[in-house]
């Protein structure tokens, strides 16, 4: 598991380790309209979280984890996915 880079967005899947943070930051900065998909993300390392918060990419999909949602400023209960944390 890790980050899958597509043409339009980076899909974060499973646990994202500290090593992935730099690549993600570089990739996001290189994009004109950076976007990430967090639907399948598990635990993100602090460094990755920091990248997400610093570069504020658009969210293709929202994470399900309650605390990660809170950290990204999303409402506590996902309205569309309906999956509780």
């Amino acid at each position: 598991m890790g980050i899958r880079y597509t043409r339009t967005h980076a899909a974060l899947e499973g646990d994202i380790a500290v090593d992935d943070a730099e690549a993600l930051a570089l990739w996001l900065r290189a994009q004109r309209r950076p976007a990430v998909a967090l639907k399948a993300v598990g635990h993100v390392h602090s460094a990755v979280l920091q990248v997400l918060l610093a570069l504020r990419p658009a969210l293709r999909s929202e994470p399900t984890d309650r605390w990660l949602r809170a950290a990204l400023g999303l409402p506590p209960v996902p309205p569309s996915e309906g999956e509780p944390a």
């Binding site: 500290v18 943070a21 730099e22 993600l24 930051a25 900065r29 635990h43 993100v44 390392h45 602090s46 460094a47 979280l49 920091q50 990248v51 918060l53 610093a54 570069l55 504020r56 605390w67 809170a70 950290a71």
Partner: protein
Amino acid sequence: MKTQDLLDQFVQEARECLERIGQRLLAVERDPANRELLNDLFREVHTLKGNCGLFDFGALEHLVHAAEDLLDRVRDGQIAYRPALADTLLDAMDHTGTLVDRIARDGRLDGEDPAAATLAQALRLHLTAPDPAPRGEAAAPPPRAMPDWLSALPDGERPAGAVAVTYAPEPGCYFKGEDPWRLARCAPGLRHLAVHAPTDWPPAPEAFDCYDHRLSFRLVCDAPLAAVQDHFRYVPEQVDCVVLASERADPAARSVPANDADPALVALRHHARALWTAQGELLARPGVAAASVESARRVLERLARILGLDAADSLAGLAPGAVPLATWAREHHPDGAAAADRTTDESVAPPAPRLGAASAASPSAEEGHSGDRGPRVLKVSQDKIDRLMDLIGEMVVAKNALPYLAARAETQFGQRELAREIKTQYSVINRIAEDMQHAVLQVRMLPVGTVFQRFGRLVRDISRKLGKEVELVLEGEDTEADKNVIESLADPLIHILRNSLDHGIEPPDARRAAGKPATGTLRVSARQEGDRVVLEIADDGAGIDTRRVRAKAVERGLIPADRADALTDAEAVQLVFLPGFSTAESVSDLSGRGVGMDVVRTAVERVNGTVALSSMAGAGTTIRLSLPLSMAVTHVMMIETAGRRFGVPMDLIVETVRVPAEDIHHFKQSQTVVLRGRIVPLRSLNALMGLDDPPRPNPEGEHAVLVVRLGGETIGLVVDDFDGTSDIILKPLEGVLAGLTGFAGTALMGDGSVLMILNPRELI
């Protein structure tokens, strides 16, 4: 109870207390952050002080009181535990031990004791001059301003008694392998977690360094402060914990009466309710074990009492089994029957009466008090056990007379029927006697850990004195052996440890130069091997310098120079066991007082043990002690020579052989025989014992040879005949016979005769 009895009990308990305190002090020193240990330590000292208070031992009480005060402050986190403080405490406890000894001797403690006063003064000094850098968050004064971010939270996310944590990881934390986000989200009882970014956030994308941690976290944890602090134990300087007070507008806290507003109480009651619910869940499981039901019942009973529910009485009359209890638990749930089905309930706070004066006591502490009952232990003095042992020994002897009686009934009186009945009865009594003997031996069994306990202190003191860094590793403390064996071990072991510390393990600099870790390891392990206990003391020090050992042995005149050179290294190492051998250049305080390894060997051999030593230059030394599990019963081989019967301890015997007379080689005075390609020297037992009869061969012209092992060498003893083996209770020689050499003791045989047990070591 008479005053004397009371005093005896006090002395005994005080000694036990002191021993435990000594252990705890060392344990706390290794792990100062462990609050459990500190609490334990404090409790022990507190008990000791309480005991002192029963008598009028002013000096003693004063000293222990000072220690208690100091520990109290340490426990509260107001003073950090540090080596200097530990030294003072250890000294104080040592002196307390001396005072207790004095009380044991004189039955009183008169007047002032200047040493105790000085030590108490020293303890108080630590009290008034607290550590300049107190330990992290524990040192902070409890009443603290709430962090301002808290007020922005909704009420539901900050229950009273919860802990508000501000966690600011350091910028370079990723490089230490830390993941602050994970640490924060895994905090116990997490209710709220917010990421707080610095003011210049978000940074310009070009300037952003993703491996420079800039975020901080704000948490609210609905868990005890200790649990939260434990969770953040690796980063104590980066977290700031504040316990939320109840007046911070928590609805749960408001609904209880005003005098119950204590946040700790609210939190406790919350936990009590959660416990109650958990019991219900446990009981609802299919096939719950009877023991679980019983413990659930006990927990519920205690909870009911703590929560002040009047339902506690009805619990007693309940039918046994899980179902009635589960029903009862649901009906009497403190939150009402409906709430019992929910797993946890934060919003409802039942109007429960106050816990009383014990407001600070947690439920676990409450249970700890009444749970102390545990397994019942009788304290029996050793004399009584020894008396029991003697009686059983006599019983074994008396029982062994029955087969003789049966034989007489048959041969002398021609009563075969009766003889058979006697034999049947004998086998029954025999079985019971063996069980009894076994049971008493079990009582006398002690774990070797009782001896190991002293080592921690010893190693600490000596290594500090020598400026060495030594880690003591103890293994197999649970291995059991007879009390006498264990006790006879203490001195040799201490001697070996001292040797290892003094001569074996090098100073840190030398170790580093040799490419070894600066801290030496001293490993003491015990295990059971068959019917013997094997103890190994291994250090990873310099090993024994065989060149020096050879030179020393020659210099001391213990061995001729040419023989010393001919020895292999492994053999040369054994020279340290020679009496009068000591390699220490200077007589130090610790070892090298001319008392060498020979004392160790003598002490171990006295209890039928053996010592083996192996050493690798530069890699360390290992000493292996092998001891019998029990000394009470000895297996002996009975032999006959010159018309007399003797016993030889079984553990010395290698084999018994019959050697044709013509196979014995005579060379001057000595005789040898070749057994399986090895030359075994032969000695005639008759000659050794000063009996004039020549050895008697059997009709086939063969001599009976008992091959025994004496410290690594095998020797053949020529006797007249072998006579089977027997279990005997060995009685040492007493009175006028005490000075007799060559005999280990006597034993009473079943036919009433006395068997002399030989000690071949002394004979040869």
